[in-house]
């Protein structure tokens, strides 16, 4: 049994404690420890991803108690891939936070950042629904602190909304877990998969309620319309590096939907039939449309980016809700793209704020450092809208292709293409107002004292854009890998067998199930 799989959870937890206890007054040490920690995480994630790339499944039993009695962490292609994405995103976001000085504007940024990473990594790696809840709470508690980092009235007000909405989500999650436990007597995902399949058609009331409640919880996390109301103001008011890190948090919701509704409630299961095609798919189409209309309607750049995140989550879930191997593969490719593009755009909106003092979409005198910022915005907007040549275009093509031949193909194609056009108009308007019209506005006599953003900020944003380019150039291998992830998800036999049949303390292989 390899112990490496628990390292992405334990390492940030230890570093966070070290930063709070030993280095709370030394920003340089905090920065060094934090960057070193995230670099190590990237290396560990790479190692884990290589170990499972041949279809192997890694199992870690805490204290060696056998599943379903003990807690397990499971690493397969999907979870290690998401861990990898988180670690890489975390690295660039951290560099931006250091470069722009956001980490100096309040206390404990680095400790909270590490706790946030711990929660996200744990949520991806856990093989147990209750632990998924616990890791959700870990990442949420850290995100509450990060969300109101550096304070301010508008930020605190948005923070209250964000915390309350997520508390309601957590309560719903507990109701869902309670009903699942009452129906099946287990919360281990692999064990659940085996037990839900044998529930007779006459006793499905409880498990149906549980499946719908769980979907609601994950939809809140993924900001699916009509459960998206928490996202625009909290992402727009959060400090930019935090909002960029939050770009992965909506994907935790998408990950949980993909995991639970392929493993526990697979698409051909009678009990939950209709849940994805009748409910999730229309909701996803609606979020795609509303998100992109919001892009056109936004009056501030940070809100515009927040709505584009809702729209791109809609795109991910449209592909997910098809629940075909091609759909999931396209969704996962788009997850990588939309995480990187969303994070880059949040950071760019902060570059604009540093250069001109606000992010209102009105014509104002030129931004300090405008040429560079405008170039990055251009690349980020192309990626998010999904124009060639960047990966958003390839992702959309894959989703359109996956949707071809399904019953709702007309709806999916129409909504995707029209909403892309709307978001194109929205981003083009924002870019021209921010950067072009600025040339026609007379500079006031007393220019406010605004500085050009730091070089490290540009390095961080440029790094994210470079990753988007890499995601485009290596689209073939990456899509082949996401296809193999989808194949593994739709053949859950090895996953279930690895979790349930590996002997440990109290190990009684599956006869009694």
């Amino acid at each position: 049994m390899t112990h490496w799989i628990i390292a992405p959870v334990v390492l940030p937890a230890m570093l966070a404690a070290f930063i709070v206890l030993a280095a709370r007054h030394h920003l340089a040490i905090q920065r060094a420890v934090s960057v070193a920690g995230v670099l190590t995480l990237v290396a560990i994630a790479l190692g884990l991803a290589l170990q499972v790339s041949d279809g192997n499944i890694l199992l870690y039993r805490l204290s060696d108690w056998a599943a379903p009695f003990g807690i397990v962490l499971v690493g397969d292609r999907l979870s290690t891939g998401m861990v990898m994405l988180t670690a890489v995103l975390g690295l660039f976001v951290l560099l931006y936070a250091i470069g722009s000085g956001w980490d100096k504007r309040g206390w404990h940024f680095h400790a909270l950042f590490q706790f946030q990473l711990m929660g996200i990594m744990g949520a991806f790696l856990t093989g147990d629904l209750f632990n998924l809840f616990v890791f959700f709470e870990v990442l949420l508690i850290a995100s509450y602190g990060l969300m109101i980092h550096a304070g301010g009235n508008a930020r605190l007000r948005a923070g209250v909304q964000y915390v309350l909405f997520n508390l309601i989500g957590s309560t719903l999650f507990l109701f869902a877990l309670g009903s699942i436990y009452a129906e099946t007597g287990t919360l281990n995902m692999a064990d659940l998969a085996a037990r839900v399949a044998v529930i007779g058609p006459e006793d499905t009331v409880g498990i149906r309620v549980a499946a719908v409640l769980l979907l609601l919880v994950f939809a809140i996390k993924a900001a699916v319309v009509p459960l998206h109301f928490w996202l625009p103001s909290s992402y727009a008011e959060a400090p930019a590096p935090v909002a960029a890190l939050f770009a992965i948090m909506t994907k935790v919701g998408a990950y949980a939907i993909i995991r639970v509704y392929t493993l526990i409630f697979p698409p051909d299961l009678e009990v939950t039939s209709g849940l994805h095609d009748l409910w999730l798919l229309p909701a996803a189409l609606l979020s795609l449309a509303i998100g992109m209309v919001g892009v056109l309607a936004a009056k501030r750049l940070d809100r515009l980016v927040a709505f584009s995140v809702i729209g791109s989550m809609g795109m991910v879930l449209v592909a997910t809700a098809l629940f075909t191997p091609a759909g999931i593969a396209a969704a996962l490719y788009y997850v990588v793209h939309s995480t990187l593009a969303g994070a880059a755009l949040f950071l760019i909106s902060d570059l604009v704020r540093t250069g001109r003092g606000n992010v209102d979409l009105t014509a104002q005198p030129p931004v300090a450092g405008a040429a560079m910022t405008a170039g990055l915005f251009f690349a980020g907007a192309i990626a998010m809208v999904g124009l060639p040549p960047l990966s958003g275009f390839i992702g959309k093509l894959l989703i359109l292709d996956a949707a071809y031949g399904t019953n709702l193909v007309v709806w999916i194609w129409a909504v995707m293409l029209v909403s892309s056009l709307i978001s194109l108009a929205g981003f083009a308007r924002a870019g021209s107002v921010l950067f072009w019209k600025a040339e026609s506005v007379e500079a006031p006599d007393t220019m406010p004292d605004l500085s050009t953003p730091a070089a490290l900020s540009y390095v961080a944003v440029g790094g994210l854009i470079a990753l988007l380019v890499a995601n485009t150039v290596f689209a073939g291998p990456i899509h082949r890998y996401t296809t193999s992830i989808a194949a593994q998800l739709f053949a859950p036999g090895p996953y279930i067998a690895t979790v349930l049949d590996t002997p440990g303390k109290l190990g009684t292989p599956t006869e009694d199930h």
Partner: protein, 118 residues
């Protein structure tokens, strides 16, 4: 006993939801607390209700109660308690800062934020 527990969960959930829809920080937080009480009892009941039995299974035991929901409830209580403390602090900060305890955005507050440019 089943009726008592079930109605207690129902009444607390209904009260919690009503208070949460009031959209002022204090009632919303009270409503949150009621809702977490409801969910704690619900989790506890999800292992079936047994009277006077220990949560220990041994060869001699004739009846026992399911220990797992008790562990789950303990975790849920700790988490919800901590979360309530966090939301009280953030809510207090927001109220003292802007002298307004509405949870939803007020139209004039949005204008003010836009003017402040932050």
């Amino acid at each position: 006993m089943e009726l008592l527990i079930a109605s207690a969960i129902g009444v607390m959930t209904a009260g919690g939801l009503y208070l949460m829809l009031r959209l002022r920080t204090f009632p919303v937080i009270l409503g949150m607390s009621l809702l977490t009480y409801a969910v704690n009892v619900f989790l506890f009941a999800s292992g079936r209700l047994t009277v006077g039995a220990a949560p220990i299974l041994s060869d001699a035991a004739t009846t026992y109660t399911d220990p797992l929901p008790q562990a789950l409830v303990l975790t849920a209580i700790v988490i919800s308690f901590g979360m309530t403390a966090v939301v009280v602090m953030i809510g207090l900060g927001a109220f003292l800062g802007s002298d307004d305890d509405h949870v939803d955005d007020q139209p004039e507050a949005i204008d003010k934020t836009a003017e402040a440019g932050q």
